[in-house]
Symmetry: C2
């Protein structure tokens, strides 16, 4: 709109010069943002806040309370917690001042970046909310009353290669309880997942399993060292089917006999009750399987008081977070949209051990807000109110009319109704265009006539209906709309 100069009368070379001039003048500076990051417009903000607020409200209903941690953590806190690959994906912050001064002579000469990095950067941006939370718990352990139920909705940063749906800055929405082994928490987390997706209008399946049952499978075939390989294979059941899973199990080192034993477990069907009953039989009562079965049983037992809106499925083929989860694991999939998991979590028996505080068990979940956003867009499921701008705009017909409008706008605001007076008495078309783009549900037209009658002409932007109302009528109508 800023280049709306008509220059059709110019010859080509002149045009080119003019365009170049404009580009140089207006584009002197590259105006863009780092790749993998995003700006959010008011509409996107409304939609995102709808998701965050829904999650937050449900967390709070269950007694979770918010905390926040700094965006920057010491690299000594972050490094080594996410594996070698994770360390590389940390955004590191250059030390202030003369960062090069203290760098080791030899490392500097060799440009040995793995040695130099900790010398020139002591801080990094947080990679997730779990490690900072563990650090928070250990650092504040004397002030914290356990069990500690916290939620945290904050951005995290990863120097991942950006791609569709994967960003370098994105918000995580975590809730965790630490300092209690009670399986009531697992049950309540299932209720939370059920409630959040019910409120958002997304049909989901909530899958639950116990890490202990995965251990039990490996134990049963006498190959506990293969637990990761076995579960990685089993985890693919949905994607590649039973036959290919069996092939993979063979490849990783299971005998035909082992596979025969494992198969009935991974293709176990029936309702949850039947599956729980079958577990004892299939595993022949090995220790890990008994513990796992009891966990699942207890969780379903707590859930009996709760009216589920979504399917909760005990799935022996569900595997995730093998490196840290030790008890129940959860995963949520949308039923009507093909997309990865949109929520997940589990119990980890030693969250704070990495910071030297042993024996603090925790259990938590995390909602994938960006994926949930995509699901809601695909399902066209965002409520209409997220599209709505402020309630009412007063058209500006001039100084006197603006003052008259302003009086009403002030009264409306005093009654909690968001209101705007268009700031300039420009052409009606431009003002209405503004009202449309900003999605005002109501517009007021008030000129000489209305001023004389002490009225306001109210236009419903959806129906197009107009009515002349007094100020008290206007307030009453807008307050209740």
């Amino acid at each position: 709109m800023f280049f709306a100069i008509s220059f059709t009368f110019l010859s080509e070379p002149y045009k080119k010069t003019l365009i170049l001039w404009a580009k140089t003048k207006y584009m002197a500076q590259k105006v863009t943002i780092p790749k993998g990051t995003r700006d959010f417009t008011p509409l996107e903000m409304a939609r995102r806040n709808y998701i965050f607020n829904t999650i937050q409200q449900v967390y709070e209903l269950y007694g979770f309370q918010p905390i926040e941690t700094p965006s920057m953590e010491l690299l000594s806190t972050l490094m080594g917690k996410y594996g070698e690959e994770g360390d590389k994906l940390l955004f590191k912050i250059l030390n202030s001042g003369d960062f090069a001064k203290k760098a080791d002579e030899q490392h500097w000469e060799e440009r040995n970046i793995s040695k130099l990095t900790p010398q020139i950067a002591e801080k990094g941006l947080r990679y997730d909310l779990t490690v900072p939370f563990a650090r928070f718990v250990v650092q504040n352990r004397n002030e914290i009353q356990f069990p500690f139920k916290r939620y945290q909705i904050q951005p995290v940063w990863r120097a991942d290669r950006p791609q569709k749906g994967r960003y370098r800055e994105f918000v995580q929405c975590d809730a965790d309880v630490v300092g209690s082994n009670s399986l009531l928490h697992e049950a309540e987390l299932v209720m939370i997942m059920d409630e959040v997706f019910t409120r958002l209008g997304i049909n989901v399946t909530i899958k639950i399993n116990s890490r202990k049952l995965l251990t039990a499978i490996a134990d049963m075939v006498g190959k506990p060292e293969l637990i990761t390989a076995i579960t990685v294979a089993i985890d693919k059941l949905d994607k590649i089917g039973l036959e290919k899973v069996q092939e993979e199990l063979k490849q990783v080192g299971l005998s035909d006999d082992d596979i025969k034993k494992v198969t009935p477990i991974i293709e176990l069907r029936g309702n949850n009750q039947e599956k729980i009953e079958a577990v004892a039989e299939l595993f022949g009562g090995n220790e890990a399987s008994e513990a796992g079965k009891n966990e699942i049983f207890k969780v379903f037992n707590y859930l009996e008081s709760y009216e589920l809106n979504n399917e909760v499925e005990f799935d022996l083929a569900l595997a995730r977070g093998l490196n840290y989860y030790t008890g129940c694991i959860f995963e949520v999939k949308a039923k009507d949209v093909a997309i990865g998991s949109i929520c997940g979590g589990g119990r980890y028996d030693d969250l704070t051990g990495i910071f030297g505080l042993k024996d603090v068990s925790g259990v938590g979940i995390s909602f994938g807000a960006d994926r949930i956003y995509d699901v809601l867009m695909q399902l066209n499921q965002f409520p209409e109110t997220t599209l709505q701008g402020p309630k009412i705009m007063f058209v500006n017909f001039g100084d006197k009319e603006a003052q008259y409008a302003l009086k009403a706008a002030i009264s409306l605001r005093n009654n909690g109704v968001s209101a705007e007076v268009y700031p300039d008495s420009v052409k009606m078309k431009k003002q209405m265009n503004y009202a449309n783009t900003k999605h005002f549900p109501f517009v007021v037209l008030a000129g000489e006539n209305e001023i004389n009658n002490s009225t306001y002409t109210l236009k419903d932007m959806k129906t197009g209906e107009q009515s002349e109302v007094s100020l008290p009528e206007l307030i009453e109508k807008l307050k209740n709309s």
Copy 2:
């Protein structure tokens, strides 16, 4: 609480060994956060959110809509916008991968950090919300409907030396309108400041001046080049008094005659109306003073429809942001607490010019949330509800009782009441201690008797009163409390 081992019976050397062991075991890793950053506990979060939500609600009442920009911006966007000192205070992010690879040979050898920095770091954390907003407007100018009224509540980062009340990560709360010259915005921003501090219960003085009147002072004495020095001196009036201001004016190059002319302006007293009228006379009608006077006049004119709760004072000695403000300037001071300004802003005629988009005027304000926090703490003015935890906790007397409690908790949550069942049937004292620390206003005790009567014994934690109620009564009572 984790070191609560009684070892008074041990001799000194043993104690030392034990402490050392404990330190090594539990403190193997330094558990702290970068200096100048903060963790926020649930209580602090509740208080902070109370401030942010108040500001946000008022912004929205006036038709402002939220945007967010990435935490990281390209350093080319940030550098050179905050002066040389500001450039140093930017947190710079080390490029991912082999950051040293492309660094210039000679610069590397010389450890020339000013040359090396842009070669090894192309991104930085945002320093304020204004420059990213300007970048946002230019980048999205084709999608934006002007006038664009946005608010933005996000953290910013500065590598400043940390000190009391100054942090390296803190949240700014900005609202700006761009693309409109109407002074209605200035008036509405004053209303917003008045409304926010009224809602927060802080008595304030809102000061307003026009940058043009500061220009007029320098013009009047024929020394426009001294505008900065003159206004810096005038700005100190509150702190150092008239005599010292006059001394400073002399030092910076004003003659005795000049000072004679300037003095009646800076010590101008009376109500706003009188001051506005005096301006014309004092400046003898110079051009800048007429423009400035008209601005102030118009703003007060718009404010006539609005019932101010706080004092708005036209203050000819108010000077701020000389490098960028061009029209009205604002500043808010708390009346009952000695602290710097807690809100400020003004009009800048060329916000987006730095990114090559000319002639887009803007006006905005920013609330200092951390200072407001301190003021509310000092005034003991945070509402009691910010201290309140979830609504109700059910004491856990065992498996059966927990199930009974859970049913009620689920019903309460379905009615929008936040509820918790204590997860373990531990000692009553421990459970009540948890309830007290987390500030539950209500606790339920329900054992064998209550189960048999289908009742719940409800304890009001404030009054200590207990009553036996049915589930519907419990819900009714809690919903309305």
